[in-house]
């Protein structure tokens, strides 16, 4: 065998390997030709989401590159309001949503009867730990990090424990526990993994409390605070635009919160809804949300990781769902007490 031939074989093989590593493949199964045709015939669908509107617009735009015929309309509301809207509309027989996408799986679970059976073509590729009902799928998996303003913090923390150091006194911010599923995941992680006294240590740095990660990330950019725990997807788009922010994924573990996304039985555009969800849950869709928006994925094998996230080093931490439901009330009350957050 000539050396040229061998190097050609190696070349082809490595090309194949490289292809396998390419996150999104055009030949990935996103839906049968019948589904795609039916979705195109419907021409539109309505998405209810707790995700931020402009972040979601980018996902829709990417989807529309492939399926420009399907117009996606959106209602975006914070978690609590979204649930009320869904419940009320459903009770009045006027649920307009074709997809409901929520960050708190515990709030969605009691509504499972409203949703139809649905599974994406790559259902088997999803980590069962992220699934709480066969009707809901983790379209988004958000991950926590420590974010800091590089203009203010010259000695950034490396671990979650570092965040409690007195040198950061009056420089930190926190999203309060009651804000929703993602924050609840983080504070559960803190108490279960970092220790019973971790909250008290963190509270000793006099954090400013924010209603959600987005205004906190803005306060971080402005320098109102210097650092604090933030969802990577609230930091990454700003970082990409050149804001003076950096993140650390601490070695003790990074809490991750999978969303619950489903298609109501009453969906008027079920095919378009399925196609959108199939695409979002596909390797292509997940890769986009990871690379461009700083999320993780609940796929067993991640197609790609967000910038700065090393899967060999970082330990992703998922909450035990039973505890996630049962501990919520009491632990959130404890948290409020520790941080002096008034109810």
């Amino acid at each position: 065998m000539s050396r040229t031939f061998i190097s050609a074989i190696v070349g082809i093989a490595s090309f194949g390997l490289a292809l396998a590593g390419v996150p999104a493949r055009a030949d990935e199964n996103i839906g049968s030709p019948e589904l795609i045709a039916a979705a195109k015939a419907e021409g539109k669908m309505i998405l209810y989401t707790a995700n931020y509107a402009e972040v979601e617009q980018d996902v829709i735009k990417e989807f529309n590159k492939r399926f420009p015929e399907i117009k996606i309309e959106m209602v975006r509301a914070p978690g609590g309001q979204l649930i009320t809207r869904v419940k009320t509309e459903a009770a009045a027989g006027k649920l307009i949503a074709d997809i409901v996408d929520h960050s708190d799986r515990a709030l969605m679970l009691p509504l499972a009867d409203l949703f139809q059976d649905y599974a994406p073509p790559n259902a088997a590729d999803y980590d069962p730990a992220s699934l709480v009902s066969p009707k809901y799928w983790p379209r988004i998996t958000a991950v926590w990090s420590i974010a800091y303003n590089t203009e203010i913090i010259k000695e950034p923390p490396k671990t979650w424990m570092d965040l409690t150091k007195p040198q950061y006194d009056k420089l930190t911010g926190q999203v309060f526990a009651q804000s929703g599923g993602t924050t609840w995941t983080r504070i559960m992680f803190e108490r279960q993994v970092l220790g019973e006294d971790y909250w008290a240590k963190q509270a000793a740095t006099h954090p400013i409390l924010y209603p959600s990660g987005a205004p906190m990330s803005d306060a971080l950019v402005r320098g109102e605070i210097g650092l604090g725990p933030l969802l990577y997807n609230a930091v990454y788009p700003k970082q990409k635009d050149g804001a003076p922010l950096k993140v650390v994924f601490p070695p003790e573990g990074v809490p991750a919160n999978p969303y619950a996304t489903g298609i109501p039985k009453t969906a008027a555009h079920p095919n378009a809804a399925k196609l959108y969800l199939n695409w979002c849950l596909s390797r292509e869709g997940q890769s986009f949300m990871i690379k461009e928006q700083g999320n993780l994925t609940s796929l067993k094998v991640a197609p790609v990781y967000p910038e700065g996230f090393d899967p060999k080093v970082e330990k992703v931490w998922y909450p035990n769902f039973d505890q996630y439901v049962k501990l919520h009330g009491a632990w959130v009350a404890d948290w409020d007490k520790t941080f002096g957050y008034r109810q």
């Binding site: 009320t88 409390l209 008034r342």
Partner: protein
Amino acid sequence: MDGQVIGRRIEAAQSGIEGKRRDVMASVWVAFLLAILGFLVIYPVLTLLLGALTDTNPVVDGLSLKHLSIANFLTVVANPNVGEALLNTLIVCGGGTVIAVAIGLLFSWVVVRTNTPLRGLIAAASILPLFAPPLVAGVAWSILGSPKTGLINTAFKWAGVDWHVNFYSLSGLIFVFGIYYAPYVYMFTSSALRNMDPSLEEAAEISGASAFSTLFSVTFPLIMPAIVSGMLLSFIVMLGIYGVPAVLGAPSNINVLTTYIFKLTNWSPPLYNTAASVAIILMVVTGLLVFLQQMVLSGRSYTTVAGKAFRPRTLQLGRWRWFTFVLGLTYLLVVVILPMLALIVAAFRKFMFIRDVNALFDMRAYSLMHFNAVFDNPLTMRSIYNAVEVGIITALVGGTLAFALGYTIHRTRLPGRRAIDLISTVPIAIPGLVVGVAYLWAWIGVPGGLYGTIWILALAFIARFMPDTVKSLSTSFLQIHRELEEAAWVCGKGVLGTIASVVLPLARPGVIASMTLLFVLSIRELGSSLFLYTSDTMVMSVLLLDYYEGGNVGKTAAFSLVQMVLLGVLIGGAHWLARSASQGGIAQRIK
């Protein structure tokens, strides 16, 4: 002889029939208005009360009284944090109202009654804060007045002075409330001053009173209904504002009732029933204030517009006019120029990290990226279109309804008018965030597909702002002397004829000003829209909150500027149209 008797009897019988017919018509009219109020006000308020006294969602669980208990309400009342939020609310709104009355009254007097230079500019400055949505005002003043990163502190540092401001405080909130809600007082008092017969002031001066004592012993007491109405309205509006305390109070953990309610609805899981209970406390406070206003105003005559021509007179201030001029400019600087500059910086700057004054002038840090992103979003244009559509519907339908209500309350002696007055005042007492849920609960089941259309938003705004519109129209009605209407009746005009030929022309500036107010308020409205909009009917204020909650002060500022420019253009257009139509009526009124 017999013929004459019969003739008289027929006449008497005819006038009896005529009288009965009028009675029937009057009852039908009152019933019609009460039915509208029932749908717009009573029904949603009842669902809200039900929400506060139960632990159920009336749509999901059905209208049942099974879980009725006041335990929910008592828990809320007993919570010390609610007490603290209530105290903060009273301090902030009380302090804000004092400032608003001082500013509003001062500038209405300066504009209407003095020869201060550039009065038109001061007049414009006096209403401009109305254009700024509260959230935008909050954001602008947090950029200016944050204790850590505020531009004012940065400027002090640069100038080497040892001063420091902190707007994340009760006094900061009072200041911002005061300057932003002064236009409510201004609108009421300036039109009252303009419509006041100066002969009373002249009489005082002839009797030897100084200009200053005339002001306090004649002028201000005469326009007392306008002052009290403006004061009360500004206080009540402040009670219901969310945006300003949300931005300025949150960093130092200062809660007022609205931010507390918003928290409750935003928590996961949301506590709407508790929120409804807190809202009831707010309603009680407001109800007391309205009662107080009635007590103060009842039994007095404030008629100042009678069937005699006059011109408001102008006071020659001499050199003092430069003092009032400087006051006007300072106000313009503080309420318009500084916050606008802050918003412009935020809208054009890539990131809001500003180390020092030099960094502020580093042009490399500026770009159009936020505007590009805003207009790249397909929701932007749709929300603008929807907001304008809702605004126009609300202004026209709401203005007409307010006229009908105001006329019935103030110009007739129909039975039931007091009930109409009372019911139409109720919505002012309910914060938008909570009443939004009540509207959703109440109207989602209305047959005919109201939900999901622009009309459900318009109806909610008409109901929510009914008190503002009716009250602002009332001043016009109170000032028109009955003798003018009586003159029309004597000339044989019917009720509708009198309204068309006398009342409407005289109250027209008031009507147009109320409709404009309604338009502005509905474009800015946020609380109810949040619950009632659907994918098709997203409005600007919801999108603005979305940008804010999305943590992007740049896009928030850029979109705020778009919104304010749009409001300016639309209202400027309406002003110009109205001026050409009514020779300055609206111009004077709006100014």
